[in-house]
Symmetry: C2
Subunit: 437 residues, 2 copies
């Protein structure tokens, strides 16, 4: 039996709060971080995965990764990679660990990192980028990856099979198209709340010149500021670039409706208007602010919550995240749900490594699930890519399709040692943010 | 400034899986556990809190408790106890830790343990049992404990104030009543899936003789078994004792409807028919299985989920849990929501220490919030009480109102040392359950 012989976890943190990159109405001072896991086989193969967090508590996710060690070290790698659906169920339905969610929060995200590391290893072994490995699998093999428990009132295995089979004939043409022209991106780089007006306008002009057709601004701290920043952004962007806004869960339901109405109805979308748990709240907001579309998903805990947001028409742009749910398998369930309900997926990215990871899911969706780019874009933030072995390439407002084997999740060894918390050179001797100030 | 000078956490586990106590359709082999926290002041005061888990991963919750240490050690105790609403917000809305939920799972439960430990200390300082301390607070002071963020579309601060004011005149009479006759209990002790038919019937006869008027059976593994066990239980219980069933999230929506229909409609309630996250699923099940009431809540992640279950009429028996949400403050929000929607609260208990902790919330609810015992009962399982300094007293099917100062959460020092994992005498040299078997 050739199993995992090595599992290493590390707490990696980038001191981004010093520059206010990533500042929004709910997250004023993030230190972008990764609870990172490496799996190694006796044959020298490796798989890399991580959970993205924003600083404090990254160690708690590392502890959750450690809680999975007995499961991981018991894997027979050939059997595991041949039946990732079973591996997923074994991890998610562990009869004792399940109590810690169930299927949400720290434990669920840690499972996602392990699942993603296994997919990284699988893709390397196949000599394929992850999106292409997935897009080459049969509809039957793909639905075997999905746990349909709690989904069958909205999507059955048979319906999922039908969806995938309908997309099969066009796979080759779309793959070729993707390799030629890439996948559309939008950018959030200009719009952080911590940036002043001049920086906002300068970065907006840059974004338009770089070929982006949508820019997203953070809102929700002060309505007057938001109105002004929106006006300044539009002036700088010109008529050909759309603007979306992101409230990062700042509002209650009624407040969201009032605020968005005050911002006007020519918004590409309003993102995370309220608690990510509030399905009924999202539905009420969506109905009230139409035609402005509601977007959410980056902190949607699991496929059951996505199912309901779709059933209740609480979102019309679905923003899946590579490290919030339990990895590739659960995100495949989410892509299938979105396809069933006819809702476009525009993945959340940014942070550290999220662009690198999530592009594979969006590209796989285009080739083998939804079969379309209509209304689809991947978020892009030009930040921290230099720490990855295969950083994303975004050219003229589009993600180039990655061709290197793997899931894009491997961070450079030098970065992993430099940003190790609290003893790496970036942190030692530094005082972290005073939580009690 | 007199603050917390000592914070100790411990991983305590009881090897309950060896006897199949606590076995149900989703949790076949729980080792009842507590991630335990003790806070101490320079004056020698103590407060005790814990998160109940079922074994593996209890260490992850301990890591989350440790992540709260800087917040806890920065507290000025006088100021904290005078404004527990602010303390709650500071912990739950920590700008970096929030990412790990938000407001759900490991991190949220750990915050609950710290909040409950502070309330334990507050009640000891006041020389009152917690239920009485809370029931003696003014409506204004009580609503100050609640974070109404994300609730205002269902319950505003003003509506909550009104509810509490309407209940004020009867407080003294209900407190007297409670001290005289106690609070109704129901029992789950007979109904674990791991028990054979003879043990089930013996324990049912015992429960009826002990004065319980409702017994709960675990169901959901096998329909034929469930029908037989339900029949055997009814034979043993006689006509005066109602039977509820608990599926522990075993079913999908359609499956739940079919199964419950097959069990018949003279059930006191069906509990946790599906995923605790599935608000719309619960609503569909509730509509289809009426008149059988749907009960849920023990794994409901937070007040936003409870709000929606009430808004959607997805439950008609609300089962709050002492250690799933972020402590007393959030459970007060849940009690107020239940009162607003006119739904009875029948708290989840059992496990280790849950009876001891949750009785305070139910009794406070009766005295100062809902003002009624109609349709209300606290779960009771006769198990592990001997480890607590002030164990519950259940006599003739009723919880006696506790009179000792505190929140009931203190475990005996001897038990804490005996069941410490993995080095306490109960565990050292023992092989834990093989997770990969």
């Amino acid at each position: 039996m050739a199993g995992v012989v090595r599992m290493a976890t590390s707490d990696l943190r980038f001191p981004t709060s010093r520059e206010l990159d990533g500042s929004d109405a709910m997250n004023p001072d993030p230190d972008y971080s990764a609870a990172y896991v490496t799996l190694g086989t006796a044959a020298g193969e490796e798989g890399h995965g991580f959970v993205f967090t924003i600083g404090r508590g990254n160690d708690v996710v590392c502890a959750a990764l450690e809680a999975l060690r007995p499961h991981v070290l018991a894997l027979d790698m050939d059997a595991a990679l041949a039946d990732m659906g079973s591996v997923w169920r074994r991890l998610v339905h562990d009869s004792q660990l399940r109590w810690l969610g169930p299927e949400k929060g720290v434990m669920h995200m840690a499972i996602g990192a392990v699942v993603n590391a296994l997919w990284d290893l699988a893709a390397r072994r196949a000599g394929q980028p992850l999106w292409r490995l997935l897009a080459g699998m049969s509809p039957e093999a793909l639905v075997d990856l999905v746990d349909f428990r709690y989904l069958t009132d909205a999507l059955t295995r048979e319906e999922a099979l039908d969806l995938l089979r309908r997309a099969e004939p066009g796979r080759a043409a779309r793959e070729e198209d993707l390799l030629r022209v890439g996948y559309p991106a939008y950018t959030t780089s200009p719009g952080w709340l911590g940036y002043d007006d001049a920086k906002l306008q300068r970065l907006c002009r840059q974004a338009a010149a770089d070929g982006f057709r949508l820019v997203k601004l953070k809102v929700g701290a002060d309505l007057e500021d938001d109105v002004r920043r929106l006006r300044l952004a539009r002036e700088a962007l010109g008529p050909d670039v759309a603007v979306a806004v992101d409230a990062n869960q700042r509002w209650d339901v009624r407040e969201a409706i009032g605020w968005v109405t005050a911002l006007g109805d020519d918004l590409a979308w309003v993102e995370e208007p309220t608690s990510p748990d509030d399905v009924l709240g999202h539905a009420a907001i969506a109905a009230a602010v139409a035609p402005v579309p509601v977007a959410t998903g980056e902190q949607c805990a699991n496929r059951v919550m996505f199912k309901q947001l779709l059933q209740a028409r609480g979102l019309s742009v679905l923003q899946l995240d590579a490290t919030r749910v339990a990895g590739v398998n659960e995100n495949l369930a989410v892509l299938l749900l979105a396809a069933k309900f006819g809702v476009p997926v525009c993945p959340h990215a940014g942070g550290v490594g999220l662009c690198e990871a999530v592009q594979h899911l969006a590209m796989f969706d285009y080739v083998a699930v939804s079969g379309t780019l209509e209304g689809r874009m991947i978020e892009y933030v030009d930040h921290l890519h230099e720490h990855f072995v295969t950083p994303v390439e975004v050219v003229a407002g589009r993600y180039r399709a990655p061709v290197a084997p793997g899931a894009g999740t491997e961070m450079l060894a030098a970065s992993r040692s430099r940003y190790a918390y609290p003893h790496g050179p970036v942190w030692s001797g530094q005082t972290p943010v005073d939580v009690t100030a």
